[in-house]
Symmetry: C2
Subunit: 198 residues, 2 copies
């Protein structure tokens, strides 16, 4: 079914064009017309791929999440546990050009999600998925008897999750100040502070 | 000069109307026309207050920052130092309806600031101001000989700042999950973890 494959491929190309428009000109400029122009196709043929602008934006937002998920699913976790956990959390942070681009687009989409129910539903799902990853880190530390027994698991999940997202957003807003090295250092320090001294 | 006073008052009313449009309908709907309608004045008379939409949005963004600053300037710090520092940092978090409204609007403005140089300049200034407040907390802990000598001041400033903003943004995105109580608990825990045991 080569036609279907092409159709899906074209949808991805249009979504990536939407990302570029959003990053360069802002969400306000993400009209079907501007995205068609960026993708190099006619406004008329956009209808073959997306019925509405809302459908297109939801698809483009979901594609960010799929890219992140697929990268995490391709990771192997067979190193020292603390290193593996740190790598998992760092994977969620914008420490490469590709991830910075994704995070910038994601930031714009979550801002828009406050007033768009379809985007909000997706934003909430992804929020929960990442929270679950952070929860796995904390429960793994506990199983490994590394987690400090005087700490509260539930509270530490929220604190670690807030730190991860806070660093990521600071890196998006101020890449000059919050560098990859700083994110790595802050995260390492934080994970160590959750563990018993060895 | 009652006329000038009225003029300034009217600009504030228009900016607050812009906030309501942004919160309810998103930044994409923050046109001069929609904001005029929300403010209950004619599109024609908007020209008396703001020459362009950009000028209006910059003013509306700046008004958020002024409100926060003026609240902090009105605070008195004469309690136990740890309590004072916690109160200062909690003041930056959306734990009241008024502050939640401001934070939601601020989130929308910072997302837009990525592609708008005038908003970006303001966003950077405010980023630096809040970083300075966090820095004062850490240096005060040090002066009071409460700050753990095994910790790195510069890194702890970034970690605390990321935590504060991460919690604030999670509260904006998921007020059902990140409540005022949780922000308070996470912040208390974090500040205590920076201090020597007493």
């Amino acid at each position: 079914m080569p036609k279907i494959v092409d159709h899906d491929k074209q949808r991805v190309l249009v979504a990536e064009a939407a990302w570029r428009v959003i990053r360069r000109n802002g969400m306000e400029q993400a009209s079907v017309r501007n995205i068609a122009e960026e993708a190099g196709i006619s406004v008329g043929s956009m209808r073959h791929y997306f019925s509405t602008q809302s459908e297109l934006l939801l698809y483009a937002m979901n594609l960010v999440s799929e890219r992140v998920t697929s990268r995490i699913q391709r990771m192997t976790f067979d190193g020292p546990p603390m290193e593996d956990m740190k790598r998992l959390l760092l994977e969620l942070m914008p420490n490469t050009d590709e991830k910075m681009a994704e995070m910038e687009v994601w930031y714009a989409f979550t801002a828009k999600s406050k007033t768009d129910p379809a985007l909000k539903k997706l934003a909430d799902t992804v929020y929960n998925d990442i929270r679950r990853a952070v929860e796995i880190v904390i429960t793994s530390l506990t199983k490994l008897e590394l987690f400090r027994p005087d700490l509260n698991q539930a509270l530490e999940i929220e604190r670690l999750y807030a730190l991860v997202d806070g660093l990521a957003i600071h890196a998006v807003l101020r890449p000059d100040q919050v560098t990859s090295e700083l994110m790595d250092k802050a995260l390492t320090l934080h994970l160590n502070s959750l563990c018993v001294r060895q």
